[in-house]
Symmetry: C3
Subunit: 388 residues, 3 copies
Amino acid sequence: MTQKSWTWIHRTDGIYVAQARLTPEMVGGAHVGYLIEKQRLAGGPSDGVDVVHVNNGLLSFDVLPTRGMGIWRAQVGELSVGWNSPVPGPVHPSLVPLAEPSGLGWLDGFDELLVRCGLESNGAPEFTEHGQLRYGLHGRIANRPAHQLQVHADGESGELVVAGIVDETRFHFCKLRMFSSISTRVGQPSLRIRDTVENLSGSPTDIQLLYHINFGPPLLGAGARVVAPVQALVPRTAAAAAELSQWDSYPPPRAGTLEQVYFFQLQSNHQQQTAVLLHDATAARGVSVHYNTRQLPCFTLWKNPTAEADGYVTGLEPATNYPNPRSFETRQGRVVPLGPGETATFDVELHIHVTADQVHRAQQQIAALQVAPPTIYDQPQPLWCADA
Amino acid sequence: MTQKSWTWIHRTDGIYVAQARLTPEMVGGAHVGYLIEKQRLAGGPSDGVDVVHVNNGLLSFDVLPTRGMGIWRAQVGELSVGWNSPVPGPVHPSLVPLAEPSGLGWLDGFDELLVRCGLESNGAPEFTEHGQLRYGLHGRIANRPAHQLQVHADGESGELVVAGIVDETRFHFCKLRMFSSISTRVGQPSLRIRDTVENLSGSPTDIQLLYHINFGPPLLGAGARVVAPVQALVPRTAAAAAELSQWDSYPPPRAGTLEQVYFFQLQSNHQQQTAVLLHDATAARGVSVHYNTRQLPCFTLWKNPTAEADGYVTGLEPATNYPNPRSFETRQGRVVPLGPGETATFDVELHIHVTADQVHRAQQQIAALQVAPPTIYDQPQPLWCADA
Amino acid sequence: MTQKSWTWIHRTDGIYVAQARLTPEMVGGAHVGYLIEKQRLAGGPSDGVDVVHVNNGLLSFDVLPTRGMGIWRAQVGELSVGWNSPVPGPVHPSLVPLAEPSGLGWLDGFDELLVRCGLESNGAPEFTEHGQLRYGLHGRIANRPAHQLQVHADGESGELVVAGIVDETRFHFCKLRMFSSISTRVGQPSLRIRDTVENLSGSPTDIQLLYHINFGPPLLGAGARVVAPVQALVPRTAAAAAELSQWDSYPPPRAGTLEQVYFFQLQSNHQQQTAVLLHDATAARGVSVHYNTRQLPCFTLWKNPTAEADGYVTGLEPATNYPNPRSFETRQGRVVPLGPGETATFDVELHIHVTADQVHRAQQQIAALQVAPPTIYDQPQPLWCADA
């Protein structure tokens, strides 16, 4: 038995470990060469942000318990996975003005490889008929600090886990708890996220969750492509429709280029598993996102090929919904109902491909999912797009 | 002379003690078995919150200097006094969006046994004619950190005091300072709050203050009752009026039950002292709130018998006013005018009753205050209720 | 070579020094008797605020990296330079509600000798046609923590420098970086600010910057005067116009006195250098602000002679613009355009005068700049004043 656990944050037990280091010697077992390390950043806008650095010997990544268990960035060998946001992050949630009347304050903290949008809502801001902010852009969960944090290491299987609990609660309103577990195995170029959202309330509610998974250079660049088993594709706007033929490829960075968004239903296998790949121009390196379409029926591709200094980035976004204003999505039924005490679980995997062979295998895996021809809509569709 | 004082926070003197412990040995005198202890919480939404734990040998309670000298919770033997909020508190003020356009951001930090609402305003949010937030729910004072904190212990009398200074100031607007002193005596099941609010300004102003004192299980439960020397009772809404006959008793927790609010004038003795009691179904345990009706002429009873997970709770709320929007209360004169440099003092006591005898004595004390029959209004009254 | 540098904050290098002390022994060279010291404040609303104290042997001052490199206060011998704000500062930015719908939340943190207003905007709040906050009072830069901080000392020249980098960025919106350098020389009663603002974006933008430099007693008092080489003077409002004849003198503190604001163009020398002096009633002590009118073409005088408790203060405010709402100033062209990667530099000096001789020399220096008679407008002018 070489499974070991450490608790680094526990609100009700009064545990908080600012700095810690978990090494193979502390775990035992056959595996070596890995590390889990916790730091508390200090100074500047990051002051007070906890970072958990996981290095499995091949892949390393940083989890941000203070920012709702987001994943800041990842690295395999020389390959950086993530993007260069103009935001000097990670930004402490206390400096992110989610309540700004514009509904856009969330952007002040946006610099992660993976940021969850939810849980009460995600998507574009929504306002009351009097213009008062009702739902801010992409919700609150990414700016709620985890009040519980544990790490686990299994010396036999080589599994490494960072597990946190994040609440999104407001008296009289939502009472949601997310149990998030981010795991990897020693020597593997992949990580798995399993999030279970519980409705703590005695009354039913509806939730939304979108995984905003963001990639910039070097994976993203001129000629980079996205590969997906498309069942249906809808451009979000007329401008996106005008560039429909290039939906799966990327131009070079260019200042002032506007973002384009495409909405998808993806095909999946008999277990409802699907995958989307982003690879660079030479198909020599890439990253694929794997998830379950029963859990996450909607997929959004966000293309933002602006200047590098402004955030040249694309988002692969599996979700319970499309990132339209909450009420629009509610009307389309794109929310997850949760009865009192009920839970919903979401699984997402990231695989990083560092050779042409690996990219090729991912391409083949996705090709195999494409069993029927896609339906491509050449205009925004009214049931998909709030502005159509 | 066995009165000793320690300064744990002093902004201008540059004093800040993260952790401290005051024991009888440090004080001298006859009394033993008590403790005052300061902690600084770390991690999660409580990161940076100071907690002062007072244990007088019988009663213990936690004061939150960082949250405007609120009282988080109390305990006598096995009896927990307070409530289970869905909020994972105590929440640091920097994570409480008081400025949210909805005016409801205050709820994100609401989990205390005693939380002050004020000082510029309290009550329901108020908006300008253009829908812009003018006064947020329950004001700012509960989310302002004390910039001065002292503890005192008297080895002879056994008095233990936690004293803090909290400012609610905004250049060009309010300049209010609250001197708060929370005291108890060794071995007594009670605590006393004395708050003195000073208008630091050279110009006159008006203040409001409401003590939102909140109780959940085990004191609150099906069949629990509130006992008060009612002079006048007004249901706040038609829905509250419909349940008027049960105003003083509580149903079991039930998901989805809406809150009901009742406004009161209470009778008091010749020194204007009055008391309100909450006791459990068997009248075996209870808590009473004692205060002065000249200082706090208004009393509000808030009943929120929802599911336990959503916050099954009742609030006993002595105040300078009813928690209507500020402008409505101003028109009714329910504010406290303070000239330049003037002060107003407010005294509130909590007595915890852990035997049927103690509850019975509290019932008798309140019965003695009821010298005239109450006036019960069966509908909301226009001078009392903003929505009437 | 006796120039030495220390890095006390560096986000990407993971450097943060909570407390540090730089003394002549650590630098070498001829100069002695100076000190640069860093502290991290704890407790109350200042919790987490970094303060860098510089003492050059004659002049001391405190820089606030956490508040956008503002200067909290200064001192020469017995003379305090700064003001007594009703705000118990320095306030941590996380407690300053910039996003408050009123647009006035900035006031909760306002207590510095020198606070920068900008960079996207400064001036009065501006709202959309629906009443939604568009630009809050005086912008964001004063509430953004520096993510990089260095100190330099030159043992030969006696130059002491505090240098910080502060970003004002929002994804999809502004991407501005300010390199701020605040310097002094051993034994000199003056300090110099050099701020370089860079547009990090690949797209052009417009910035604004106003130096809100604030003085209260003892420099400010009944009979104190401001001396400026006026080219044009415009009262901002009819009320300011009514007191136009006393624009350059100050009444004693009086509760309830309303602020008055005057807008100026100042004359300058052939290098576009100008200066404004504030001296006390006897012209025995004073402070002058020196800057370049090409960099900062607008000057605002803010007079707030209210009760001392409410902030008896005057502001000398060189700026790129007048503090009108952003859109009004944009229409008048009073913004600084910055192309991709372009920078703009701003230089401001404060000289403190502690003898009548020094004040007299400053008066003469300003008199020499007044080569043409001033144009005094007796009413607000439409191109200057948003409310005219």
